[in-house]
């Protein structure tokens, strides 16, 4: 197999960088740990890379950053909305299940998408249909079903599809 004959120094460069950075943060950027972290960041991907399945890679780091910033903003804004709902009477609450049609099928983008839906307060992803065409979402307070589905698709699904180009 051609995959084995070719030697690659950094089979998963992003993972190597992340590993090194996390090691540095844990050990407060001392010189010895910079070297030790670098050794780990090089050797561990050699061992682990053949085990992991091929995942789509984000092409544009800037877009990933923009997406994360928007996610944090959404989490903060809608957290206050949920707080308001919690403090009001239960009688005004309209909980609902909705089914969101989805077009992502790769495991990693799908995980990020469903996690984003769960993290933004007010919505919680419950289950996928077997054909990965529908995501069931529980909503704490539903005003307008179609509007919410459109919002989820536009705010989270579209950017993830763009980032991973799938």
């Amino acid at each position: 197999m051609s995959k084995k004959s070719k030697f690659v120094w950094f089979p998963t460069p992003y993972h190597s960088l992340l590993l090194w950075l996390v090691w540095q943060i844990l050990h407060e950027f001392s010189r010895g740990h910079m070297v030790l972290g670098a050794v780990f960041a090089i050797v561990i991907p050699w061992i682990v890379a053949p085990l992991s399945e091929k995942e789509p890679v984000a092409k544009n780091p800037l877009k990933v950053l923009l997406y994360l910033l928007r996610l944090v903003q959404d989490i903060i804004v809608s957290n206050f909305e949920v707080a308001k709902r919690v403090l009001q009477s239960n009688r005004h609450l309209k909980p609902a299940f909705i089914a969101v049609p989805i077009t992502i099928s790769e495991p990693l983008p799908l995980t990020i998408f469903t996690s984003s839906v769960s993290l933004t307060p007010g919505t919680c992803s419950v289950e996928l249909s077997d054909d990965k065409q529908w995501l069931y979402v529980h909503v704490l307070h539903l005003e307008d079903e179609q509007k919410l589905i459109a919002q989820i698709k536009q705010r989270y699904e579209a950017p993830i599809k763009e980032i991973f180009q799938c």
Partner: protein, 121 residues
């Protein structure tokens, strides 16, 4: 300088504590299993986030160098919280917990349990 720092840190601590309190109130008072799932999982991410940022700011100034360990905790929290919520929701479907009477689209929960598309029989 230390005054402003103290104000920022205590503001973040109080805000975080209030958010966590509201999450706990939600856990106690919301009507059914699935609505109860919302309050604590979400409030914990933002509430704990606020408290960790406060800790990060305080210790960065106190030790005189950048302290980012709390940032790692926040990251892991943001990765694991939705997974926990998802597993709890799945468990709720499995046990067919009682839903609030006027839950909209109640029958979708049965479809979700069977992993079917909503228009499938």
């Amino acid at each position: 300088m230390t005054n402003i720092l103290e104000i920022v840190v205590s503001f973040l601590l109080v805000l975080g504590a209030i958010i966590m309190l509201i999450g706990s109130i939600g856990l106690a008072k919301l009507p059914d299993y699935f609505t109860r799932l919302h309050a604590p999982t979400k409030a914990s991410t933002l509430g704990v986030g606020c408290i960790l940022i406060a800790s990060m700011v305080y210790f960065s100034f106190d030790l005189g160098r950048l302290n980012l360990k709390e940032f790692l905790i926040t990251m892991f929290l943001f990765i694991t919280a939705p997974i926990a919520a998802h597993m709890l929701a799945k468990a709720g479907l499995q046990y067919k917990v009682k839903l609030k009477e006027d839950t909209y689209n109640k029958d979708l929960s049965a479809k979700a349990y069977l992993h079917k598309a909503p228009d499938e029989d």
